[in-house]
């Protein structure tokens, strides 16, 4: 074969051909290179670092990431970061492996006529998506577009701004499948979606369905440890004896879905015996009499029959709470038992806010606190032009009027897609199909769309439904906007760019949404870079991007929390509302009373299916991470938990393979027989059951609770009621 211009082309030596290789003396065989690497002493020499934040869950714990020869070499937790406090969890250490995963998406993809994805250029992707968005806007208006995102510092800003620019109010978080009932229920009572238990100073703290040792934020776990060490009474109310129970004085294996009865009965005792903070209630509360009348019959004996906690324990705990108050409270939880699980989750959240009020513990040392935060101030409008607020109401806001307006009912937007009202949906960092509710139903919803765009780093089950998949670079390859953290001393932390972009055809979300905005004809709202915006936000609070880059976290001591300061109640009455007109309008009683869960297991081989957290996984997003899945495999963590007494009745032994079945799904897995579980439930570990073959590590491992879950929404609040599932369990081969 003759050499010519075509056949001499070289990627390394350029297209002009190859001259004699002057540096061939630098050739080193692979064997010699490996030996040289092995001989090199381990040291930080030649390395540098940047501050970043973990992305394996929503906590965003800060760390210092060291880079040597272009690769991540070491992670050191940032002791000044509000969430890390010098620690990160297994997820934090394992998740960076995602950077080099073979399952990373490397190019923009479009689904072709055969239903297969193929590579297209960014230009083509932007052009085609932009044309389709404009067509939807012309034919159906901005109400026909929706965005679902799981908030991250840049993602939350850019996705919201993008939808605002398009004029669509249909902007959703993952909340309906996480903590919407909690936030919405609290809001009805105290006008705020969350509060923070002053755990480390508490004399008595109760967790309901929450395990800070499983859903790890190191700061929370450290606080619990301090409370335990300080002699606080720690009570864990959870159908499962979770891993935080090592710090607890008591575990109450409540019947799942009945926490509300337990709370109403404890409130009954406080009021009946006059051991609540009457002065605080008189000064701050609207609707106490209605609430008191409603719980008059909610005796501990009544509650015992429902929740399974002995009446004597309910009596005793209520008294202990009153004795510990105001340095006592029920923790706010996160997703736990009342974030989105049951038909009564929102009302359970209301009851918790009411109970804490009866203790008079708001903003008291050891009680329940409203911690300050700092946010970016006003920016230069010429550089960062204001986007007009979209007109119209968010889809779902009328059907689910109690739902937090900042979260919205995401799956209802999907339902409206199936019904033809929503034509185009965008997803950022959101795996709705696998993680939010019934995957088959949600897939049908997305299939009905004219346009489905997913921005992700790997092919999630939601991305599989997309017309276009836009590949984001990983969290370690991008600078994000500063994250402002509330706290006793509020602070701001930074996710800086640690690594050069590994796959050159991936982009950070700020560039992706800026490109989409330009293609959709609203690029005038994005005339800035993420660096410029981050710096401007920080300058608005007296800092700068350069300053934050040097330390990773900066606190605002001048904004520190002060005990005893009366909160401003952002309720209609500007007081704590034990009664709510909005709840009445949604079909609930004015003050929280008993609402039964939607389903009740009949016994025999029927159970309620519940799920929760394991310390190394966060829903579907970490399952495809090899080091974290290795922990799952090493410790056999995909097994379903079953109460030992029930297992014996059914002839099921530890390690047996069982078939779990209901009208939605049937699946098999092995069983962990344990006394650490309420007998009415089986506990299915989260994160597993991936059905995307593109995720080589996660695919086909374990079962997924959403497969057994019907598409259903909590009245008024709009949560997905993820524990309202009945299944039958039988031993395979029996």
């Amino acid at each position: 074969m003759s050499e010519n211009a075509i056949t001499r082309r070289s990627f390394l030596a350029g297209s002009a051909g190859v001259a004699a290789l002057a540096a061939a003396g630098g050739y080193m065989s692979f064997g010699a290179w490996k030996q040289a690497c092995a001989d090199e002493p381990a040291s930080d020499e030649g390395s540098w670092f940047a501050y970043s934040m973990c992305n394996a869950c929503s906590s965003k714990c800060g760390y210092k990431a060291y880079v040597k020869r272009g690769r991540l070499s070491k992670l050191i937790p940032n002791e000044y970061d509000a969430h890390a406090q010098g620690k990160i969890c297994a997820r934090g250490y394992g998740y960076p492996a995602i950077v080099y995963s073979e399952d990373r998406l490397t190019d923009p993809l479009k689904k072709n006529d055969k239903g297969e994805f193929e590579v297209i250029s960014w230009e083509q992707a932007y052009q085609e998506i932009g044309d389709k968005v404009k067509a939807i806007l012309d034919s159906d208006g901005p109400q026909a577009l929706a965005m679902v995102q799981d908030p991250r510092p840049s993602g939350a800003y850019y996705t919201k701004r993008f939808m605002d620019a398009l004029g669509s109010p249909n902007f959703y978080t993952h909340g309906a499948a996480c903590n919407i009932s909690k936030a919405s229920g609290f809001s009805q009572v105290i006008g705020a979606g969350d509060f923070s238990a002053d755990v480390e100073n508490s004399k008595m703290i109760m967790y309901i369905g929450r395990s800070v040792a499983d859903a790890v934020r190191p700061a929370h776990l450290l606080a619990l440890q301090k409370a335990h060490d300080n002699g606080a009474k720690v009570v864990m109310v959870d159908p499962r004896c979770n891993n935080s129970t090592v710090f607890a004085d008591e575990w109450l294996p409540v019947n799942p879905g009945t926490d509300l009865a337990f709370l109403l009965a404890m409130s009954h005792v406080l009021i009946r015996d006059g051991i609540y903070d009457a002065a605080y209630v008189a000064e701050n509360v609207v609707g106490f009499d209605e609430f008191a009348a409603g719980v008059k019959d909610c005796t501990p004996a009544w509650a015992e029959a429902i929740c399974g906690i002995p009446a004597a324990d309910i009596e005793r705990l209520a008294v202990e709470f009153s004795q510990a108050a105001p340095a006592a409270c029920i923790d706010a939880g996160w997703r736990g038992a009342f974030g989105n699980q049951y038909a009564n989750s929102g009302e359970t959240a209301r009851a918790i806010a009411v109970f804490n009020t009866l203790l008079g513990c708001w903003n008291q040392k050891g009680g329940a606190l409203f911690l300050p935060s700092v946010s970016a101030g006003k920016l230069d409008e010429e550089k960062f032009p204001a986007v007009p607020k979209p007109e119209g109401k968010k889809v779902g806001s009328e059907e689910y009027p109690l739902a937090s307006s900042s979260m919205g009912v995401n799956v209802f937007a999907a339902q409206r897609a199936k019904e033809g009202a929503i034509k185009g949906m965008f997803f950022y960092n959101s795996n709705m199909v696998a993680g939010y509710s019934n995957p088959v139903y949600l897939q049908e919803c997305l299939d009905a769309l004219d346009l489905c765009v997913v921005v992700d780093i790997q092919m999630s089950e939601t991305a599989l439904c997309a017309d276009y998949v836009l590949p984001e670079c990983s969290f370690l390859e991008r600078l994000e906007l500063p994250a402002f953290n509330g706290g006793k001393v509020p602070s701001v932390s930074l996710r800086d760019k640690v690594l050069d972009i590994v796959h050159p055809n991936t982009k950070p979300c700020d560039e992706i949404f800026t490109g989409l905005a330009e293609a959709c004809g609203v690029g005038e709202y994005f005339p800035f870079t993420v660096e410029e915006l981050a710096d401007a936000q920080l300058k608005s609070v007296g800092l700068s991007l350069d300053a934050l880059r040097k330390v990773g976290t900066i606190s605002f001591p001048e904004k520190a929390f002060e005990y005893g300061k009366a909160p401003k109640w952002k309720t209609p009455s500007e007081k704590i509302q034990f009664v709510s007109e909005a709840c009445v309008a949604a079909g609930y009683t004015p003050a929280p009373t008993w609402v039964a869960p939607a389903v009740t297991p009949a016994g025999g081989n029927q159970f309620r299916l519940i799920t929760g957290k394991q310390a190394m996984h966060s829903h579907t997003m970490t399952a495809n991470c090899e080091p974290l899945m290795a922990i799952t495999q090493d410790y056999d963590l995909t097994r379903i938990w079953m109460n030992a007494d029930r297992a014996e009745q059914l002839g099921i032994s530890d390690g047996d393979e069982v078939e779990i079945s209901n009208d939605q799904h049937t699946g098999r897995c092995r069983v962990k027989v344990t006394q650490r579980l309420n007998p009415t439930a089986v506990f299915l570990p989260p994160a597993y059951g991936c059905s995307s073959k593109d995720q080589h590590t996660a695919y086909g491992i374990g079962l997924r609770s959403t497969d057994f879950q019907a598409y259903q929404l909590e009245n008024g609040y709009g949560s997905t009621m993820s524990h309202e599932i009945l299944v039958t369990v039988k031993k395979v081969g029996a």
Partner: protein
């Protein structure tokens, strides 16, 4: 070991090309020479002097540009069930003894290639930043070494770097795509070249040991 032009052309096939580039490369005068040269390379490397060239027929007529381009768009990308990126790190098992699959991007072969490219005064092309151990670059490095007269280094590189192609061939063979047989044949030929060279190197090493020459 063969003509460096053969490895350059093969490299371009795995790199993905636009229509004009593909037309140039597959023009009969170039392509016939390539297939002939590839056969000669296999023969030259084969320890028994035979090509075993059942792959030649599949290479004689390259796929249409539409089929070639369709293959590249569907398979030379990451994260899909049909992904078949020709990247060594994805096919070299990790150091862990039970690792069934490759180590992910950026494993030892990538770090080696990155450093080798730098040591030899080249720049890693931006499009290959994620995969310095892409087959196109490895073949290109081989051609560069040959053209520069570094035959011994080229032989060392050839015998060390292409052992993963058998696994990669298995991956390609699973693909339901009209252009898959073309790429399978191309890899078969490369396995012939690299396998023959590796066998020769092993034979030389064995002879050296048998004769007590420990300096090899």
């Amino acid at each position: 070991m063969g003509n460096p032009a053969v490895f350059s052309v093969a490299a371009q096939c795995f790199a993905g090309m636009d229509e004009a580039g593909y037309a140039e490369l597959t023009a009969p005068e170039v392509w016939e020479g390539f297939v002939e040269g590839l056969g000669a390379s296999v023969e030259a490397c084969a320890s028994d002097g035979r090509s075993g060239a059942c792959w030649i027929d599949a290479l004689k007529t390259p796929p249409s540009f539409a089929d070639y381009d369709g293959f590249c768009r569907c398979h030379f990308t990451g994260g899909l069930p049909g992904s078949a990126l020709p990247v060594e790190s994805l096919y070299r098992p990790d150091a862990a003894p039970d690792a069934a699959r490759g180590a992910g991007y950026g494993a030892e072969p990538a770090r080696y290639m990155e450093e080798l490219i730098e040591r030899m005064g080249f720049s890693l092309p931006p499009a290959y930043r994620a995969w310095p151990d892409h087959l196109a670059l490895e073949l290109d490095m081989l051609a560069v070494l040959q053209r520069s007269g570094y035959e011994s280094e080229a032989r060392s590189f050839l015998s060390e770097r292409f052992g993963w192609l058998a696994d990669y061939r298995r991956r390609l063979a699973c693909l339901d795509d009209p252009a898959a047989p073309f790429f399978v044949a191309l890899v078969d030929a490369l396995i012939g070249v690299a396998g023959g060279e590796a066998a020769k190197a092993a034979s030389v090493a064995a002879d050296s040991c048998a004769s007590g020459d420990v300096s090899a």
